[in-house]
Subunit: 334 residues, 2 copies
């Protein structure tokens, strides 16, 4: 296998086969994938199936705590998990810029395989395209996923009721600041790591506690986008307490310096949950008992008042509206 | 909605929502997609499920007979169909270069919707990312698909036996030459149109005739890659007749001019089938009775001799080996 990817590696001939056999199959080692047919044929139990897709264009490809491969697996697994599904199978499609070092692709493939193992999912099928130098920025990865939705499980904005508690599973803004620090070469006394992690185990723990009505993973647009979207779709308002929206001091410091609100910065390993008031404490305890939920908090509640409006009570006793971010914040953060 | 796509449209905030609501929802109009949850939750009957993914980077985005949107739907539907599955649900993920005209995205979305209607599949979920000007070439589309595999259906290279007839469903090389003509501004007296079409109906007709052991859609690498791959995986050889591998005169003329072998040029609306000798005539008749299979031919047969080697008997009585293409042929043809 050559040191760099060439256009021929995307041509569908013997060079493509060499790439698959020397880079992807050793990493993924999936029996299904190894058949090299046009589709993977899978067995699923009867019932509902969740299906999701995400494109990843993060820059740089590698950052403290993760890389584009781990991000692709976790982003897809987490979209399935917050829909109440148990993630089972993933696809990965690569768009590669001609000249990319093969070793970079190998590292990304190994990272995909590692994250898939953590999440208990199988990489079932994939595709590779190569474009000329300058027609893409190194590497884009699109991952799709299939999960099983257990019978009787109902989750989603439509289930949210006024009085539901709003719960966050940990500190907010870590991923976005980690990527931005890497990209801009910022140095902090305490470096920020991305929180990118598969959340299916954490979500299952929360669901087992009972009374969870809706979940989101607050990625692009951060906590602010996730909670505004859920409130708008559910037709409820929300009243939150700033002191119960945990932000690491180093993330807050970076945001202050950059003029960002950490509540609008992407997370890749956190959940926002709406849970019935009588089970919220049990959900909180279940989250805290999980390695990825140690800093979980009940941050406030859904209200019948001011539907679609999210209000945060500040530490100094004020009240401010937490708006849906416009979108200008941080490009290529995932 | 603005005339051009900006980075903010990929930020996950209100601008992303505006893009989804003004471009994608009107085109796809899918009830599932309209829920705007992180995953689509679908119902599938019990049984086996086929899962596939493909990235599309074709240049230019629009060409005679199709565009990147139609290509994405058909490519994915066809990968499912040749696996013996009945395609049901698609996802589409867009990577957009900042500055792309919104109208281009609208045209692509409408084309996706049209092709999905033709194929009888539903666009269930999607994603949009935007990268800076120069970090991608206009638009890349990655599509994944889910199909149902009827109980008892067994298709694949492992089912191929020596003596099986090799059948092609029509003329070879049309798609690649259509895209290349558009890209290079070539003019022919009879312009070549891409054959891009959903093949699930054609595949179903062939399967209903009985005795089909394996199918492929000969895309990148063309007929040569598809038949070599199947022969190698099945451990058989193949003996084919050049005069029964149909090539349009205008495609042959373009290939002669460009120094290409039409058997290595991509198709997006053709099937290669291996069928039992006693049912091959019925399969041929079924293909020919379908609007997409009028030029179908039995082109030769699988052999126990020279496993993995595909031999073509030429019109002038010679014999040549049809090799697996290396990959250098035509970049960004799909």
């Amino acid at each position: 296998m050559q040191d760099r990817i060439t256009l021929s590696h995307g041509g569908g001939g013997s060079m493509t086969r060499e790439l698959v056999e020397s880079v992807f199959l050793p990493a993924f080692g999936s029996e299904t994938l190894a058949l090299l047919e046009d589709s993977a044929v899978l067995r699923l139990p009867p019932g509902r199936v969740a299906f999701t897709t995400d494109a990843f264009v993060v820059r740089p490809l590698f950052f403290r705590g993760g890389d584009i491969g781990r991000l692709a697996v976790c982003g897809t697994v987490n979209d399935l998990a917050v829909s109440g599904a148990e993630p089972r199978f993933l696809s990965v499609a690569f768009v590669i810029e001609e000249g990319l070092e093969t070793e970079i692709l190998r590292r990304v493939a190994r990272s995909i395989a590692q994250a898939a193992r953590e999440a208990g999912v199988q990489v079932a099928t994939g595709d590779t395209k190569v474009v000329e130098k300058g027609a893409a920025d190194q590497l884009f990865v699109t991952s799709s996923g299939i999960g099983e939705v257990p019978e009787g499980r109902r989750l989603g904005a439509a289930e949210i009721r006024p009085g539901d508690r709003v719960i966050v599973s940990g500190t907010l803004g870590d991923h976005g600041i980690a990527v931005l620090s890497e990209r801009e070469g910022l140095r902090f006394s305490t470096p920020v790591s991305s929180d990118v992690a598969p959340l299916n185990g954490l979500a299952a723990a929360a669901l087992a506690a009972g009374g969870v009505h809706a979940m989101r993973d607050p990625t692009r647009g951060g906590f602010a986008a996730a909670v505004n979207e859920l409130a708008a779709q559910a037709g409820v308002g929300a009243e939150l307490r700033e002191e119960d929206l945990p932000v690491r001091p180093e993330v807050q410091a970076a945001c202050d310096m950059l003029g960002l609100d950490p509540l609008t910065v992407a997370n890749e390993g956190k959940l926002v949950l709406f849970a019935a008031p009588d089970t919220a404490d049990r959900v909180l305890a279940a989250l805290r008992a999980h390695p990825l939920g140690g800093h979980a908090r009940i941050a406030g509640e859904a209200t019948a008042a001011h539907p679609g409006i999210v209000v945060v009570g500040t530490r100094i006793g004020g009240r401010k509206i937490l708006e849906m971010p416009f979108g200008e914040g941080l490009p290529r953060i995932c």
